[in-house]
């Protein structure tokens, strides 16, 4: 099956100059290359690849990733899981605590028709998960989320991980599946120590640790701290973005998604105003300056943004921009950009292929 066979394309002409703006434009050659390079690496080091689909939210791309060798997918909310399940994808890990009656009902429904696994980091939520497993009449696999340095969710010590694993193992409707962490950038080695200690504790207690899963695109190419890890969850790598260029995880040419925007005003010599603001680029700064850059214009910064206005620094190469010109912005953080648009446009080099619906955009958690 060819890449484009995974998608239903809506015709929008063949030239980038003819597209409506602002719109995300995705080069499928770069997507295919990013997919293969990462899959090859996972295969080479013997780690299962479980890409996070929160970045692209496209059913077709999730299926493509699976067919290229991914073991399953990662989702961040039930809404994403439901869309992927409706499309026939069954091997999913939901890396967010499921809490509350509605969500537990939805989880039970998903568990009846998929092999969804979930995470937990506290005892209070186990009763609900157990109820969902009972409703589904099967054991839902639960991984213990470990806080290995990111200071987000997760149990705080290997001993706490063991304790929670024991409770999961005993609960009706649940089975203990292993450990999950989102290692903070540069924190994978300390994470490994935590996880291997927790694994030893579980093994000694007679609990088998099937999966140890870590994630994060920034450190994806680094080998440190991967020993003992069975699975990797990367999301952003499919498109990459400015933040990952800045971190030296990728080059500009690896960035598959740019936001196409039109210059609508040149009010002053030092700025060009465009029709992509925070409702197209988001306000995610990730520690950088500006809301994205126009790489082909000497990395001209979008130095400010309102909801529908972007302010391009025109003191350099962007000084040549005129009203009506198009620019392509590499966003700081690509994941929330997909979430703002109902459609993205696929291109191959300079040829437009068509628009694709963002299947899992903006769904309730």
């Amino acid at each position: 099956m060819q890449f484009l066979d995974y998608f239903k394309l809506r015709p929008v002409g063949h030239r980038i100059e003819d597209l409506e703006t602002p719109t995300p434009v995705i080069d499928i050659n770069v997507v295919m290359n990013n997919t293969h390079r990462w899959q090859d690496r996972c295969d080479r080091i013997g780690i299962a690849n479980r890409p996070h689909i929160k970045t692209h939210k496209l059913v077709g791309l999730a299926k493509y990733q699976l067919d290229q060798g991914s073991k399953g997918i990662t989702v961040q909310k039930l809404g994403e899981a439901e869309v992927m399940a409706d499309a026939g994808i069954t091997d999913m890990l939901l890396t967010f605590n499921v809490v509350g009656r509605h969500k537990l009902e939805r989880l039970a429904s998903l568990a009846r028709r998929t092999d969804i696994a979930v995470v937990a980091d506290n005892l209070d939520m186990l009763e609900g998960l157990s109820w969902a497993g009972e409703q589904a009449q099967r054991k839902i696999k639960v991984l213990v989320e470990c806080d290995t340095g990111a200071a987000r969710n997760g149990v705080q010590s290997p001993e706490d991980a063991l304790n929670l694993a024991k409770h999961i193992d005993k609960a009706t409707g649940l089975s203990f599946g292993g450990f999950m962490t989102y290692a903070g950038v540069g924190q994978r080695i300390q994470g490994q120590t935590f996880l291997m200690t927790a694994k030893d504790l579980c093994t000694k207690a007679g609990l088998s640790v099937e999966t140890i899963t870590t994630g994060g695109s920034p450190d994806m190419w680094k080998d440190d701290g991967l020993e003992g890890i069975t699975e990797y969850r990367a999301g952003t790598y499919i498109y990459f973005d400015r933040s990952l260029v800045v971190r030296n995880t990728c080059d500009w040419s690896d960035c598959a998604l740019t936001v196409l925007s039109t210059v609508v005003s040149r009010p002053a010599a030092n700025r060009a105003m465009i029709d992509a603001g925070t409702k197209a680029l988001t306000s995610d700064m990730l520690g950088m300056e500006g809301y994205g850059v126009v790489h082909e214009l000497g990395d001209a910064k979008i130095y400010a943004a309102n909801e529908e206005h972007g302010y391009v620094d025109a003191t350099g190469k962007a000084g040549a921009l005129r009203v009506g010109n198009l620019v392509r912005i590499t966003p700081n953080h690509v994941c929330p950009v997909s979430n703002l648009f109902d459609e993205v446009v696929f291109v191959q080099g300079e040829t437009v292929l068509g628009a694709v619906k963002v299947d899992a955009r903006g769904l309730v958690q």
Copy 2:
């Protein structure tokens, strides 16, 4: 017609505790109060009220604002204008430069069925607007956008405003409608000087200046610099938000929209993790710390956020939060929050009334 008659409500139960999270929750009593207070003020000072619907994106609320005395509405993109036109609203001002073939065709189509007025701040775009007016077989009213201090779009001097007004007046398919500015916060007096000078220049040149329109919720209650202004465009005032509490434009009790979220983890004493991250709250900081606050818990800050995770500072009153508890977050900037959700939930005090579709969410400019 009663407030609720403007909306089609989808039943979602009657108790806030039964809602799915995260979701925007809007108290209609506060919305009605905000509407009336602002309309009363506009009436009192004799300025036309043209609310900006980019904040709420709800057809029903736009119609309610009109029936309470608004002269017309303001939209920020053609997508919003089209949704409002489809609902029968005809008096609209689009405060964003229309540039590009697709957009001009859409403008022509809108001009055939509504009294849409637009803005311009440069000569390069006039040919396109003129073409759209010719296509629509009527004169499209064009206001000259003036940069009166915000350093965004706009002509840079009253002389440039006159020059552009003359060109609009001469162009086929267009009529000169006056001046538009988005006055920066605290810059209304300098804006008034600019606008009155431009008006004098036009009057002397035989051009009548029908409308002088300014905008912005932060300075909405201030009287300085309003003399000579004929129309005010405020958007955020319908819901208000944390940024406007911080600027003393409103009180916490005037904030109609909060984001309801569930505590999913208490990994450490100093933090409670919730299911509202940047895909629910946005990353708009507007110069403040954190991604919003839980006012009822001593203004506990959402001190960090990832896409689906919010980190509540639990060192104060939020320390009592437990897994499964609900919190209501007043967002920093309410306008882009509406844009992230397909539905919002109307409440009256603690009673849930139903969910309402966000009609103009996320449309292409």
